[in-house]
Symmetry: C2
């Protein structure tokens, strides 16, 4: 079981932006500092901008920056928005399901409950909870400005 | 986010065996009735046998059957055993991790807690909870013997 690379990179991007405060960073800088593909990160940043979490500006001094306070970015909502789907098992997607017992199976509600429990933990945490040690984070990614 | 096909097929196989009671079924029968690949199911059955959940017998009348009561097969334990890994994000696997903030990041404990909440729901359920309507299950898979 794993989250998508898209969600992983969205979380990393937000952690980087949160740890570097009001500093605006280019996609290339974020990708280089955080060990991500710039091409993939471009798509992630577009999604984060569409969600109203970051804004991007062009030109000299332009780049990506957070437009919400970290404590106003709940991780549960973020993961719900960045995961492409939560088809835990095949029958969660009626379009491709091949399991014949789907109409009478008691597994989906159990897995739904487990998934909700997973997301409920993330609902109780925000980006701010991931930024308790901004100096150590900046040091880890090689950003020395405060 | 999704469970592996291996876990999905393990669950389906156990539901089939539970719904058909003491009846011994071949891998081919289970695969045909449940819409699974027989090749893949063979590996799943080997794993379930290694876990002490089913036994396989050869020859005429042989096949696969449950050797534990359904209420003695907790779903949490099963999923823990059948998922190859729970590397929710890249840094959960130190061998392949490329994220530089892994040593100082606060995300892993949050995701660990969410994962435990997911599994805790499954720990409270057993195969028996998936077999409340065995007749409807048998009808759905086209097995008419009681």
């Amino acid at each position: 079981m794993h989250l998508t690379k898209f969600t992983d990179n969205a979380l990393r991007c937000l952690i980087f932006l949160g740890a570097t405060d009001a500093r605006s960073s280019t996609v290339r800088e974020i990708a280089d500092h955080m060990g991500m593909s710039a091409d993939h990160l471009t798509k992630v940043v577009q999604r984060l901008a569409a969600l109203g979490l970051v804004e991007t500006t062009r030109g000299v001094g332009g780049g990506v920056r957070l437009v919400r306070e970290p404590d106003d970015i709940p991780l549960g909502r973020l993961v719900r928005e960045t995961e492409q789907n939560f088809t835990l098992v095949e029958c969660f997607d009626a379009a491709t399901n091949q399991c014949p017992i789907a109409p009478v199976c008691a597994l989906p509600p159990v897995l739904d409950e487990a998934l909700e429990a997973f997301l409920a933990v993330l609902d109780r945490r925000s980006l701010a909870d991931l930024l308790r040690e901004p100096r150590r984070l900046r040091r880890a990614v090689g950003v020395t400005t405060s």
